[in-house]
Structures are given as C-alpha cells and as structure tokens.
Amino acid sequence: MNRRTLLNAFLGGSLLATIAAFLYPVVRYILPPKQAEAVQKRIAAAKVGDLAPNSAKIFKFGSSPAILINTQDGKLLSFSAVCTHLTCTVTYQAETGTMYCPCHNGRFDLAGNVISGPPPAPLESYKVEVAGEDIFISKNA
C-alpha cells in the first residue's frame, strides 16, 4: 500500500466517521420524543363525582396550580389558583362561597373578580368540559 492509497483511505475513513457523527443526531432528532406534544393544553383534572357540591380541588395545570370548584348548585368552575397579589395559592371557602387567599386576606367571587383585599386583578378563568367520566380543563381562547 503506497502513501497515496493510505492517504485516500484516511480521507475516506475520516469522512465516513464525520458523516456518521452527523447522521446520528439527525436520526435521533427525527425519531419521536417521549412527550408527544409540545404544550399540554388540556388536562383531565378530576372524574365526575369526585367533588361533592360546594367543594373544590387544587390541581396542576401547566406549571402552576389551578382550582376546580363544584358550586352549591352543581356547576363546575375552574380558575387559576395563583393569587394576583403575591402569588400564594388560593383556596375555596365553602362557608362564604368565595375563593380566599390566606396570605393577605384576598377574596374572589365565583367569576374570579376581586371582592376584597389587596389583589389587583381577577383570577384567570379556565374552560371546563365534561367528556364522559372526565372533567377536562383548558385555557379559554
């Protein structure tokens, strides 16, 4: 094997190695990742019947807490549970039928509006859909 052939082999070999080093990430990229969707836009927060009337549940929506309320008359409502004052998590007070933030006494009605206390803005409301047994929550358009 003369020098010329050796050099050609070296050239070809390193080229193939480089191509492989490039194909590997491209192939892995194209293969679908574990989490299929980019954004979890709609989640099942609870099952029908989980919540008694005039009670609520806190669940995770995206990366922040949200609240699902079953009102006295059996209506399902859902809001962001992040208090607009200093981001504490609000709770549902059955006695008053309002959402209450224990940090500084903020209070919200069942439309998400501020009725007393320091919060400067209302709670964002979410869309509630019942599909069979599940209660789905998604953002309003």
Binding site: L7, S14, A17, T18, A20, S63, H85, N105
Partner: protein, 420 residues
C-alpha cells in the same frame, strides 16, 4: 308685553338669577382674590398659584367659601369686607375645616361617600389632645393635607397618597429637634424605610402595603395599645394571626402582657423574617424567653433544624439548576417546580406561628418530595451537559482528522501537479 317678549324676558331673568344666586355655578366668575394675589410675591402669591390644582376648586368652591370677603370687588378694602376671615390660627384650623367637613348634609351634596367624622376622630388622637392643651406644634389638617393645593388622596402627587404618607408624617416625626420636647423616638421613618412594608409600597408599588395610617389611624392617629397590636397586624395577616391564637404563645403572651407580633417582628422596622429568627442561634427570638434545656428551647431547636435543613436542600436544588443552565441545558420546567417549593416553604414558615412541629414537618416533607424530583432533573441536566461536551469532542476529533486528511491530500496534490 307680547308673548314672545315675555318668554325672552323670563329666560334672561332666569339666566341672570342663575349667575347671581347660585355661587356653585360660578366657575367662570370674577375672582379678585386670585387676580391680586397672583401679582404678589412669595407667601402671598402661593395661594393663588396652588389653588389651580385644589380639589375644592374642582367642586366649584373658591376663596370666598373659606375666607369670606367679596371676590367681585377689586379694591382691597371692599374685597376684604365684614365677612372676610383671614388665615385662621393653627389652634382653630381643625374646627375651621370641620365647619364644612363635619356637616354631613353639606358634604353629601358634593361627595356622598366622603366621611364627616374627621374632627371627632381628631380629638381622640394625640395630635388633637395636645392641640386642645394649647400645643401649636402638633399636626393640624393643613400639615398633612396641604392648603390651597389640596389633592384627593387618590392622586399620586397628594401628600396623603399611600407612598407619600411616610414622608408627610416624617416631616415632624423624624425631625429630632422638632420632637425634642415630646420624649418619643424619631427613628420611625428610618426604621420603616428598611422594612418589607416600605419595600412593597415604594419598590413594588403595592398600594395594599401599610403606611403609617394603616396601623396608626388617619385622623384619630395614636400608637396602638399593646393589646391591639395583634389586631392591627391581623387586618392583613389573618392566617398567621389565627395560627398564633391557636398556639400556646397566645395565652402566655396575654398573661405577661406582651404584644404578640411586635415582640418578634418589631413595629416599624419589620424586616423580611429569616430562618435565623428560629432555632437556637445568636439571633433566635425564641431564646429571649426560653432558657436552655426548657421545652420551649427544644421546640425552637427542632423548628430551627427542620427549616434550616429545608433551606439547605432548596439551595442545593437551586444551585444545581443554575449550574446546568450555565452549561447551556434547558431547565425551565424544573425551575417552575422549584417555585412550587418556594410557596410550600413560605407556608411552612407561616405555620411556625402555630408551633405545631409535626404540622410543619409534614409541610416541609411535601416540599422535600418536589425537591427530590428537581434535584434529579438537575442531575440529569448536568449529565446532558456532559454528554453534549463529549459528543462535541468526538465530532470535533472526527472533523479534525478529516481536516488533517484534507490538508495532507492538498499538500500531496500540490507536490504532484506541476506549477503552471
């Protein structure tokens, strides 16, 4: 008279009467007070200048409505007629203002929601009490509200807009010379400015944060008594207050006549509470009452340990995510989860007021679970960073080898092909 002429006359009479008999409608009428005073200098000019912004003017009131006189007359002796009241003395200013502001029916015609009890409140305040005794140095209406340029408390330029109130009170209360005779401290404004409440009010522009009047009262301003300090704080911190009331401290504090919140947190210089306030370290507030070895000491020690450990674990998780991010790995999802832990830890620290160690331990454990997941995510991110660097090294080596091969090939071709 013909009917048309009759109607015209009636109309004119009506209009002219309106102008003469309804001073409140006299927005554009002649005001000799302003005309003269705006030509003067210094102190005498100030009222004319300031009055343009005054809230009383917006309601159609003028110089005459407080000072009397006849603004239609240009000559000074005619303008300052029998009804003229010049600037009232300090001692009678409260009653002067209250001559309208304590008249419910009168004020209702301007602003039905405005309170009319300011004067009666004022007499209960320290300012009012000292004024009655003849002290002219205390605050009267004009000291806080201004005069001739009075603005509604809703406007940011007003002396009594929430974020201006500390400065307004501080004009006297922070002036050591002025306050010398009263024997009370003058450090309140400086102390307040270092507090979390001041930071919330001045920096975060949170209008719900307390200024002087929220704890001391507006017109009935007086320092709250020992028993009422807790109620004052509970206005905004009800959950903490509830926890405290359920704790063994409540009975103990009541028995020894201590003021609940103030003992540990101070009154004006209320700082962001730190974990060092618990435990058995030098800055522990617990040790101010509880001796070494006592039950209280044990509880303090336990609480301190639980929270310190939680803080350390939190810091660890925070650091590992920061490191991974510096190395270029995307960690916004675990960072969000870390924020959840912050909320849990704040809640746990709140629970310390209830002194139920097991409750607090439970809360911290909730956070611990999330921290474990965050830590794992952080470690995975560091591994990913390492993987990337290794991958880069391998790819670079292959590329470098390829480059070397090319270089040698080029050199070889250069040698073998003859120069043109």
């Amino acid at each position: 008279m013909k009917p048309v002429q009759l109607i015209k006359t009636a109309f004119l009479t009506l209009v002219l009467s309106g102008l003469f008999f309804f001073p409140r409608l006299s927005f554009g009428q002649k005001n000799s007070c302003l005309d003269c005073h705006s030509k003067l200098e210094g102190e005498l000019r100030a009222p004319a200048e300031g009055f343009a912004q005054d809230i009383h003017r917006q309601f159609g009131l003028g110089c005459k409505d407080c000072h009397g006189g006849n603004p239609a007359q240009d000559a000074e002796d005619l303008a300052k007629d029998k009804s003229f009241k010049s600037a009232p003395k300090r001692a009678v200013i409260p009653e002067f203002c209250a001559s309208c502001h304590a008249d419910a029916a009168y004020i209702r015609s301007f602003n039905p929601r405005l309170r009319v009890d300011q004067l009666s409140q004022y007499w209960t305040s320290r300012h009012g009490q000292l004024l009655k005794k003849g002290d002219p140095k205390v605050a009267v209406c004009t000291d806080c509200h201004g005069v001739h340029g009075i603005q509604s408390a809703k406007y940011p330029k007003s002396l009594i807009f929430p974020w201006n109130i500390p400065q307004t009170c501080g004009r006297c209360h922070a002036n050591a010379d002025y306050m010398k005779a009263y024997g009370i401290p003058t450090s309140q404004l400086d102390d307040y400015k270092q507090s979390v409440h001041a930071r919330a009010l001045f920096e975060k522009k949170d209008m719900s944060a307390p200024a002087c009047n929220d704890c001391h009262g507006n017109h009935g301003a007086a320092p709250p008594e020992v028993k009422s300090i807790a109620s004052v704080c509970r206005q905004c911190h009800p959950s903490t207050g509830e926890l405290f009331s359920k704790s063994p401290h409540k009975k103990a504090f009541d028995e020894i006549g201590q003021s609940e919140c103030e003992v540990c947190h101070g009154n004006h210089k209320i700082l962001s509470p730190s974990d060092d306030m618990l435990g058995t370290g030098k800055t522990s507030v617990c040790l101010e009452c509880h001796e070494t070895g006592s039950k209280g000491y044990e509880a303090a020690s336990q609480l301190g340990q639980i929270l310190t450990k939680a803080q350390i674990r939190y810091r660890q998780a925070e650091d590992i995510l920061a490191l991974a991010e510096k190395k270029g790995v995307e960690v916004s999802e675990p960072k969000f989860r870390l924020q959840e832990v912050t909320t849990i830890l704040v809640s746990a620290k709140d629970l310390t007021h209830g002194l139920a160690v097991e409750d607090i331990r439970g809360k911290v454990d909730e956070g611990e679970k999330i921290l474990a997941a965050v830590q794992e995510a952080g470690e995975k991110a560091l591994q990913e960073a390492k993987f990337r660097r290794t991958g880069l090294l391998i790819a670079t080596i292959f590329l470098a080898l390829f480059a070397a091969a090319l270089f040698l090939k080029i050199r070889q071709m250069g040698k073998s092909s003859p120069r043109a």
